[in-house]
């Protein structure tokens, strides 16, 4: 009934709308610094009018809903870029570790110790004393410190590879936690959205998916009821329907470096699949590439250098004879390129006595012809053996060993450089996307305070209406 009490109703709705508006604004201000929070907006609409002989009379305002500001496109971009960034960062870390190990710029590296070995061969050739016992001992010493250096570098690279493996084991349960969390949020959202948009739950879920994407490359789509399906980039569902699947890190007995290294398996009730090869992105993918590609190839590069060094020195050493008349190897002959650095050692005969070092070709104790040939190895370009070559013929490039070391170092530097650049670039892109997300969905304090003032004014104006109606009612009552 349109009457004074009807006006009170209108004012009351106005007061309520303003009060709820303050609530929404307050919620926004409170969450101004919450990561992943999207600003919410109160959506108002006219209340249904009442029919009256004088025309339709409005009944005030009504809050239709509260919606959140959201840009689905930016969210998709953030997922993709997050996956690339997570992967690149893990790989860039690995490469910078590798180049620290193989850094020749600030410490004695592989090239230095190889160069010293050649120097020692040359010193042996120029020795004045017959038998050159001092030079033989010095040569054994520099060979031993070369071996120690190879062992140390190999050990450091394997230690780093092992720590990448441990990081993989740590990331997998983190992934599973996110999957469970997303599944729980899915249930909550579906339940809440039978009533109204589940703004806050959706923010939490978006954030969880973004965090997940940093760990593993995922794609998402939403079903009609509001649940989010999360799949691996290969299409295998991680969260779908009522259940989350799990990833499991499990020892891989066929791993070429260490049978305790893990593979990542995908398990739902029915399937148990090895998905290690599918995981390209995210920190998990990056760690797998670090372990199985970057560290692995660095270790094999060191092995290649060790194998070719031992093979070339031995091939010349075998041509000569030791002071004691012996003929044999200088380094213990490596069986294969793989693990040659780890297994590098002096031949047992040389280890037993420096007189077994074949400086001559069977002349007297000052015969230095083979030592000259050994020293010449520094400049000898040979076709290098690559992993997988022996016992077959060498198939590598033809260069001197030191040139090869230079090429390996340059190669690793190049990879580290491009990964560093990519990481910097992706960090900027991510930053840009976060900013774009903020432009749409972020909380601006200025804006919220302005809104607050407006709402305050609206509240006061509505109160004014109540006061006026009150006075009118007083007037009416006084008339009685």
């Amino acid at each position: 009934m349109p009457g004074l009490f009807g006006v009170l109703d209108v004012a009351g709705r106005g007061l309520l709308a303003a009060q709820r508006g303050v609530h929404v604004t307050g919620h926004n201000i409170a969450n101004a610094n919450t990561p992943g929070y999207s600003a919410q907006r109160q959506i108002l609409g006219n209340a249904f009018p009442i029919v009256h002989s004088a025309g339709l009379l409005g009944t005030g305002v009504e809050q239709i809903t509260v919606e959140r500001l959201h840009d689905a496109f930016v969210q998709t971009q953030l997922l993709r870029q997050g996956g690339s960034f997570g992967s690149t960062r893990a790989q860039a870390e690995a490469l910078s570790q590798i180049e620290e190990v193989l850094n020749e710029q600030d410490a004695d590296g592989v090239a230095t110790v190889i160069s010293r070995l050649y120097d020692s061969f040359s010193d042996l050739a120029s020795a004045a004393a017959p038998g050159a016992s001092v030079e033989r001992e010095a040569l054994r010493g520099s060979a031993q410190s070369l071996i120690d250096t190879f062992h140390a570098f190999d050990g450091q690279l394997r230690e780093l590879q092992g720590s990448a493996d441990r990081a993989i084991r740590d990331v997998v349960p983190e992934v599973n936690e996110f999957l469970v969390r997303i599944q729980e949020l899915n249930e909550e959202i579906v339940r809440q959205e039978t009533v109204a948009p589940a703004n806050d739950m959706r923010d939490l879920r978006d954030q969880a998916v973004r965090d997940l994407a940093l760990l593993v490359d995922v794609s998402t789509y939403e079903t009609g009821d509001g649940a989010l399906v999360v799949t691996l980039s290969s299409g295998l569902p991680l969260v779908e329907g009522g259940s989350a699947r799990t990833l499991v890190a499990q020892a891989d007995p066929t791993h070429p470096f260490d049978p305790t290294y893990v593979q990542v398996r995908y398990q739902d009730g029915a399937n148990d699949l090895d998905v290690t090869a599918d995981l390209g992105g995210g920190r998990l993918g990056g760690l797998l590439r670090a372990r199985d590609t970057h560290y692995a190839s660095a270790i094999r590069s060191l092995d290649t250098i060790a194998y070719n060094l031992a093979a070339s020195v031995n091939s010349v050493h075998q041509l000569g004879t030791g002071l004691d008349g012996s003929v044999g190897d200088f380094f213990a002959a490596p069986a294969a390129v793989a693990d040659a650095a780890r297994g590098l050692a002096l031949d047992a005969s040389v280890l037993a006595t420096p007189d077994a070092i074949a400086a001559g070709l069977g002349g007297g104790p000052s015969d230095n012809r083979n030592a000259l040939a050994l020293a010449d190895l520094r400049h000898a370009a040979t076709t290098l053996f690559l992993p997988g070559d022996p016992p077959g013929p060498a198939s590598g490039p033809s260069r001197t060993l030191l040139q090869h070391v230079g090429a390996v170092v340059g190669d690793i530097g190049q990879q580290a450089r491009s990964l560093n650049l990519a990481q910097g670039q992706q960090a900027r892109v991510l930053e840009g996307l976060e900013n774009r997300r903020d432009q749409v969905a972020g909380v601006s304090i200025d804006e919220e305070v302005t809104r607050l003032i407006r709402l305050q004014a609206a509240f006061q104006a509505n109160s004014r209406v109540v006061v006026v109606v009150d006075e009118l009612l007083d007037d009416v009552l006084r008339m009685i």
Partner: protein, 316 residues
């Protein structure tokens, strides 16, 4: 929908900018403190690879220079011993000239013969001289004296010890550059016995120095001035033989000296190239340092003002 600039965006951008400024500053500071432009391969992969090869090239040159000085010492000592042998033969020639003179009698010739005996002994000592623990003229068999003196001087009838060569005639080579070797040992049999082909007797035009001295001594003991005079030509031939060896040694010494200079020059060139490749340009690094410090301070200043006024500050 209007795009908004929020607090969070400003803070994020400022923080990222300051972080990057700090990273750049850290890189420049590292360059300033190490003096190197390349501190790890990724700073300049091609440069790091080139620097590695330049360093190993420098190392090789250092080694060759050490070998050169070793060879120089060896050759210089060999030459001084040949010079001693020359002195011996010159003294022997003087004595032969004196002994061939008819005014001397058998006694004085006997006296001269005694001096020849000491010359013979000192020549043997010279031929068996050592360098760095090895016998210089013994070839590869440097652990034993190459010249074996058998017998002794007898007076009636006059007899002299025989000197046999028990070393080998290999001449030790030393590498002084990639693919370049020099002779740093000299065949004692050729130098002192005039026997280059190893047939056990002096080659035509060459002399067994010990035999010449022995024959001279025996001729003096026999008081035979004609035979004494007959050794003069052989002594002259010996001096030519020793002179040829000295010339050869001098040639090696000259080559070594030249090579030493050349290696030093190359070492300098490589050092310069290494420095160009890997060293930081000090002037630039320090001006960068100042500039980047200023930029960082400006960034920090901006950030301190980031607790920026909002509308709140202006409302009663």
């Amino acid at each position: 929908m209007g795009l908004r600039i929020t607090q969070a965006m400003l803070v994020r951008t400022a923080l990222a900018d300051v972080t990057r400024a700090r990273e750049r500053l850290a890189i420049t500071q590292e360059q300033a403190s190490s003096g190197l432009r390349i501190n790890r391969p990724s700073d300049d992969p091609a440069g790091a690879s080139a620097a590695l090869l330049l360093r190993s090239g420098l190392d090789a040159i250092d080694q060759f220079m050490r070998n050169v000085s070793q060879a120089r010492a060896r050759v210089a000592v060999s030459e001084s011993h040949v010079a001693e042998a020359v002195d011996v033969m010159i003294r022997a020639r003087e004595l032969a000239v004196t002994g061939a003179n008819g005014i001397h009698d058998a006694d004085s010739r006997r006296q001269i013969a005694r001096e020849i005996e000491t010359l013979h002994a000192s020549l043997a000592a010279t031929a068996n001289s050592r360098f760095g623990g090895g016998f210089l003229f013994a070839g590869y068999a440097a652990d034993a004296a190459p010249f074996a003196v058998a017998g002794s001087f007898g007076d009636a009838p006059p007899s002299s010890p025989t000197v046999g060569f028990v070393g080998d005639s290999n001449e030790i080579q030393i590498a002084i550059d990639h693919g370049v070797q020099v002779r740093a040992g000299f065949d004692g049999r050729r130098v002192f016995l005039g026997d280059a082909d190893g047939d056990g007797s002096a080659d035509p035009g060459h002399q067994d120095l010990f035999q010449v001295l022995a024959d001279l001594r025996d001729a003096l003991m026999n008081d035979d001035p004609v035979a004494v005079a007959g050794t003069l030509d052989r002594i002259d031939e010996s001096l030519v033989q020793l002179g040829d060896e000295r010339t050869a040694m001098g040639a090696v010494a000259g080559q070594l000296e030249q090579w030493d200079r050349q290696l030093a020059q190359r070492s300098e060139d490589l050092s310069r190239r290494l420095s160009e490749t890997q060293d930081a340009d000090a002037a630039r690094v320090f001006s960068d340092l100042i500039q980047q410090e200023t930029a960082l301070q400006a960034g920090l200043q901006a950030m301190s003002q980031m607790i920026q006024p909002t509308l709140m500050d202006f409302l009663g």
